[in-house]
Symmetry: C2
Subunit: 298 residues, 2 copies
């Protein structure tokens, strides 16, 4: 009683677990967010959490389940060794790690190397490939903003190279743990887009974040920025610093995948660089998982 072509798709990250039931064309029939990121799951408890999330779909005849994200890390359900770049649907599908051969597969993360230093991603590869498919392109620059932002270059449908920026984490450290925490108000207000842009421009001048971050303190000390605007300025500084490190191909739009509040900031910052941006939400994940499943040797 398998329901031909149906797929249970799971995006299982550090702090969240989302599941979708997809039909034979990849359309979403049902979607759930049970929470339960891998940090909240004890070793040995993964099968139970998986079953609670989507066991009913499998019992009702969905033949396959596919999982992306940190569930495939050493601290997750089962380690799915990194697949080396360049990698597209075919390479990733060929390297699924099997929880149950032909039934439950885990998508491997990707690794690449630049100047003797490795880099890694887990989960973002699925979003990037899904976005390619949704946009009908196979040549693009991607950014997936977050705690650890990923920039990736895709050529002929394969992720050629990528690199990680600890932008969100630096922001949180500076905002909450550094000397700047004494200057900034307790809670972040709404984004002040003009002040944010001023922070971006300051970083693009190139003095570096070690120096520019101190400006949050002095601009406040000399009453040049109101307290409520300081976190927008700091956000502009860190995102501007991330952008400064990119070599963007001329005339190629940057595809930003993420939540609207964050993608909006990247759109403004990319404008400051004279680059255009195109934003996409989490729909890319389901499409990526569905396409990987199509290519997998079940």
């Amino acid at each position: 009683m398998t329901v031909k072509g149906r797929l249970a798709a799971l995006d299982w990250g550090t702090s969240s677990l989302r599941a979708a039931l997809l039909d034979a064309n990849g359309a979403v029939l049902d979607e759930r967010s049970p929470g339960r990121g891998i940090l909240s799951v004890a070793p040995g408890e993964f099968p139970t959490v998986f079953d609670a999330a989507c066991g009913d779909w499998l019992r009702a005849g969905t033949p396959h389940a596919i999982v992306s994200g940190m569930a495939g890390s050493r601290q997750g359900w089962m380690e799915a060794p990194y697949c080396t770049c360049p990698a597209g649907f075919a390479e990733i599908a060929a390297h699924l790690a099997w929880i149950e051969r032909g039934r439950i597969g885990i998508v491997p993360g990707l690794s690449c190397e630049a100047g003797g230093v490795p880099d890694v991603m887990r989960g973002e590869e699925t979003q990037i490939l899904g976005a390619l498919d949704l946009l009908g392109t196979d040549d693009a620059v991607f950014v997936l903003p977050g705690t650890h932002s990923k920039w990736a270059r895709v050529t002929r449908g394969r992720i050629e190279t990528f690199s990680t920026f600890m932008t969100g984490e630096f922001y949180a450290l500076l905002r909450k743990q550094s000397i700047l925490a004494r200057t900034l108000p307790e809670a972040d207000g709404d984004l002040d887009e003009q002040v944010f842009r001023r922070g971006v421009d300051q970083s693009l001048r190139g003095a570096g974040l070690l120096h520019n971050a101190f400006g949050v303190r002095t601009l406040s000390l000399f009453d040049r920025l109101e307290a409520d605007a300081l976190s927008s300025y700091l956000s502009g500084l860190v995102i501007g610093e991330e952008l400064r490190a990119q070599e963007l191909p001329a005339k190629m739009p940057v595809i930003v995948i993420g939540a609207p509040a964050l993608t909006r900031r990247y759109e403004i910052a990319l404008q400051a660089l004279g680059a255009s941006a195109q934003s996409l939400g989490s729909e890319a994940t389901w499409r990526g998982l569905w396409r990987i499943a199509q290519a997998a040797p079940w």
Copy 2:
């Protein structure tokens, strides 16, 4: 019963207080480190702490006391408004803030401005001017490494401009509060100079600290660096990032003022840039305070 020309010199910072009794030529007769940085002093308690540190010297006939450092900040004993750059002995001496006119003076900090963003220092101006005097030069580049490193350019005996880098604070945040804390061993071992240099070189390549810091994690993940060497690599990354932002005049040595363990790191890093370094310890503070006192309108 004044002892002609004697001076009580105090270096009163955020986390430490040091006092020296100097003779008419600026030689140190006695030196004390009572601890008691301004963070440990309640408002109103400053006169008592001052008296415990050097009141006996004044009672025994030393006519003047001079104080540099954060004691002159808004959170200190009395705010000594910033003196604007360029500033040398004359400008600073003319702007002493008086706890007691003609008897106890506080050295003002300096401010400057670049691209619409102000910068400030308090205490370092005294060390820089003291070092100039000790070295018999009036044209130099200085770095004072620390939680907030200061780089300064001195021309014709006056500090023309300077800028702050939150290098020590970023190191501590990344070392102790970031995701890297899970990768790094609990305690720092001895500096591994070769690995430190590798971190410096990596930063000089220019991808930025937001990216390079993530390399600490991946180099460990792929067993490319031993756990004990990771903190040396991270230290090289942050100091290298600080150096990358400098425009150093050709053939001018950089004068590094600080504790030997830290100045050694800057010597190695400056070598990587092809620049030469000359190191100096805290003797510069006493010389600076003595020379400012000579120029002051007691």
